[in-house]
């Protein structure tokens, strides 16, 4: 990410300029995802809406407005449902959005709530036909006596209109809550994972799905582990990984068997017996798993750490990064207020050299894998004006020696959590969801990724 000639970390956090503070009114953002080119950014919220932002093309005349993201389209993806048989309300909250690779002028994305996955087509319309013979401009039928000659309708430009339409609805395949969806590299299939099962779908077929993983025990009393996240390998269409609440990762090969209950590889770090406590299992639960763009590594996030695994080494992670180790002595309180169950996501940058994840107090952290440097930044309107450079933050132990701008562990706001973050696939642009606000930061000085 550029050479550092002074003491600033190679990440050069000083280059990150907050681009815009987008306030999505009322609702809490529940997922953030760039598309494969980074031109579009989709967010889903608790109200079931999806907002898509589009990056403006760079303009020479206004250098500072180049590459800004503006709202492109907003639509209601999911509505609240009521399951009459079970007297249950099904939340409309969007759990995940995944873009399909673009194959024609239209864009396609999958969005899911707890139960139903939908495929949406996002297309533009900037021309419309004019000059119909039978209808006039407002669409009313013409009086036939006024029609004296035939004309061929022509396409005339109009204001850009973005149309979103549901193309497929994949319903009734999940008994438990869907937590992940992942599009396969074959661009024909995708998988959806709930707490106990993973299903494989064909994008064109909505009335059938194949169950490829089922960890539901015969006797539900024996249930001790659930699936927390799942993802396809970026290049090998037969491989996928899923993580569990016990901190294990399982790499499965769909060629081996129809039901991939037997894993090909099991990634698990042996527990440190001296660090064992009643909370050990809870904090080892993996909340997110992401393949690197190269497909060689896995990034996982558990409550206190982020780990990079090499697919070739199952015995332990390659690298472990402490996200907020100062919380280790506070686990009992965090258990009491349920914060210990928060599910943080994690992200790779485009070149797999930097990883990013969120924390509390609207802080998010970035770790450079090469230089081993890390930085803590804050996403909040109070601390960053538009166009200003983000300054790094530091959390110090309670009562510890404080520098100016340091924040003590006891002053952290645990209601301000950054669970969802995304990194542009090619450039140093990141999207951070802080409750109901979306922040987009760009590294203007180092826009090329290294």
């Amino acid at each position: 990410m550029g050479e550092d000639t002074d003491a600033t970390p190679t990440l050069n956090h000083r280059g990150f300029l907050p681009d815009h503070n987008y306030v999505t009114e009322a609702d809490i953002i529940s997922t953030v995802e760039f598309n494969h080119t980074g031109e579009l950014l989709a967010t889903g919220d608790k109200g079931g809406r999806v907002v898509i932002f589009q990056r403006e093309p760079e303009s020479k005349t206004e250098p500072f407005s180049q590459g800004e993201y503006n709202v492109y389209s907003t639509f209601q993806s999911h509505e609240p449902e009521f399951d009459y048989l079970k007297s249950l309300e099904i939340e409309e909250k969007i759990n995940k959005i995944r873009w399909l690779p673009q194959q024609n002028a239209a864009h396609f994305l999958l969005s899911t709530n707890d139960k139903t996955i939908k495929l949406w087509k996002v297309s533009e319309r900037d021309k419309r036909p004019e000059g119909y013979n039978l209808k006039d401009e407002e669409g009313r039928i013409k009086d036939m006596s006024t029609v004296t000659s035939l004309q061929v309708p022509v396409l005339k430009p109009m204001d850009l209109m973005v149309e979103v339409s549901p193309r497929r609805v994949f319903a009734n395949a999940h008994t438990y809550h869907v937590n992940s969806i992942s599009v396969n590299s074959d661009y024909e299939t995708y998988m959806s994972a709930d707490d106990l099962r993973i299903n494989l779908w064909h994008l064109d077929i909505t009335d059938r799905s194949f169950n490829i993983v089922d960890i539901k025990p015969a006797n539900m009393e024996d249930l001790t582990e659930v699936i927390t996240a799942a993802e396809f390998h970026p290049h090998h269409c037969n491989l996928f990984v899923y993580s569990s609440s016990k901190g294990t990762l399982r790499l499965c090969d769909m060629r081996e068997a129809a039901l991939c209950d037997k894993h090909s590889k099991l990634f698990e770090e042996p527990e440190d017996p001296s660090a064992r406590s009643f909370f050990s299992e809870i904090i080892s639960s993996v909340s997110d798993v992401k393949f690197s763009h190269s497909g060689r590594y896995l990034l996982t996030r558990d409550y206190l750490t982020a780990k990079v695994w090499d697919l070739n080494m199952e015995s332990k992670p390659l690298e472990t990064y402490q996200v907020h180790d100062y919380l280790r002595s506070k686990l009992c309180s965090l258990y009491e207020n349920d914060c210990i169950f928060d599910k943080f996501e994690c992200a790779w940058n485009g070149s797999d050299s930097v990883i990013m994840t969120g924390a509390y107090n609207n802080f998010f952290r970035m770790f450079d894998r090469n230089t081993k440097r890390d930085v803590t930044l804050e996403a909040s309107r109070e601390s960053s004006k538009p166009r200003a450079v983000l300054k790094p933050r530091r959390v110090c132990a309670a009562g510890g020696k404080r520098r100016k701008d340091d924040i003590s562990v006891d002053s952290l706001d645990f209601t301000k959590k950054i669970l969802h973050t995304a990194w542009h696939p090619n450039e140093n642009i990141i999207a951070i969801a802080a409750t109901n606000n979306l922040y987009i930061f760009q590294d203007k000085l180092n826009s090329e990724m290294h």
């Binding site: 009459y84 048989l85 079970k86 007297s87 249950l88 309300e89 099904i90 939340e91 707890d114 008994t175 438990y176 809550h177 707490d195 106990l196 539901k216 006797n219 539900m220 009393e221 024996d222 249930l223 001790t224 582990e225 659930v226 927390t228 609440s245 017996p273 001296s274 660090a275 064992r276 406590s277 009643f278 909370f279 299992e281 809870i282 639960s285 280790r328 002595s329 506070k330 686990l331 009992c332 309180s333 258990y335 009491e336 349920d338 169950f341």
Partner: protein, 306 residues
């Protein structure tokens, strides 16, 4: 089991629960372990907290299977440790002997009586050490003053082998290995946990037979006792009554864990007001529930018919 003197990262203060000075004493009796009372207190409060969380699972805005599984595993872990320490049997025996609905005063009375009850019933003679007894009484006094939210802190106990069956039955029906019933399973299977308990204790002695009949009561009382003793919410008579004579099937967390959200945005105790008006998994078999079930049958007929 933790090796002696190992620092347990349990409490926020990070206390070292086992002092080395007591090691020699503990080592003398085979399975006995000396626990500092603060560790036991913390463990007990963690257990209480976890049970409350599980009970209130269905009152959450977003019921979460992962969260429930993790809490249950934590409770199992505590329970296993307490079983190894022998604390578990004392607690359940005391409650079985009590056989009365929990309320603060009565619970403490039970605690005061527990060693007598165990001795008199002759079910499972337990050699208490004098030290343990004193400490136990000490903590009971504290409880009567209403300061501490926990119950038993018997320090030195030797676990008795016949209680293995009770330990295993507790693992089942305690609600900690609950019925994570899937939505499509029948309600009949919700009683699984009771059956399990009966199986495990089937070849038990008379003392165990008492447990058999009392196990559902135990569960109620355990839950009732925990509920009442938790200082955070003010004792709500409706709440206590609700939990004290509750039907065991309430603790089947079937729809709880698969996303029951009959009152999505309510606070924890608001739900109690409206509990009876909700679906078939409501607490009591009130007539409103029966009518809901009838409605359900009716709807099913329509759907199947079409």
């Amino acid at each position: 089991m933790f090796p002696k003197g190992t620092k347990r990262k349990f409490s926020d203060s990070g206390e070292e629960p086992v002092s080395s000075g007591e090691q020699s004493q503990a080592a003398t009796s085979a399975a006995a372990r000396t626990l500092s009372s603060s560790y036991s207190l913390q463990r007990q409060s963690l257990l209480d907290m976890s049970l409350i969380k599980l009970q209130l699972c269905h009152m959450l805005v977003e019921p979460n299977l992962c969260r429930s599984v993790l809490i249950t595993n934590t409770v199992r872990q505590i329970q296993e440790e307490m079983t190894q320490d022998g604390t578990w049997q004392i607690m359940t025996q005391a409650l079985a002997a009590a056989q009365c609905p929990g309320d603060r005063l009565v619970a403490t009375e039970v605690l005061c009586r527990q060693s007598d009850a165990a001795g008199q019933a002759g079910q499972n003679p337990k050699p208490f050490s004098v030290v343990g007894l004193e400490e136990g009484y000490h903590s009971e006094e504290v409880v009567m003053e209403g300061d501490v939210e926990t119950e038993v802190t018997m320090s030195t106990l030797s676990p008795v082998s016949p209680q293995l069956s009770s330990a295993s039955y507790l693992a089942g029906p305690f609600g900690m290995g609950p019925c994570w019933e899937e939505e499509e399973e029948e309600d009949g299977e919700c009683e699984e946990d009771e059956e399990d308990s009966e199986e495990c204790v089937s070849e038990g002695e008379e003392g165990d037979r008492d447990h058999l009949s009392a196990d559902s009561r135990i569960r109620e009382q355990v839950f009732g006792t925990f509920e009442i003793k938790h200082p955070a919410p003010p004792p709500d008579p409706a709440l206590e009554e609700l939990f004290s004579d509750v039907d065991p099937s309430y603790y089947d967390l079937d729809t709880v864990l698969t996303g029951m959200q009959s009152a999505p945005k309510m606070g924890p105790y608001d739900l109690l007001e409206s509990l009876s008006s909700h679906g078939p998994t409501a607490l009591s078999s009130s007539s409103s529930c029966r009518s809901d079930l009838n409605e359900l049958d009716h709807i099913m007929e329509i759907i199947v018919g079409s």
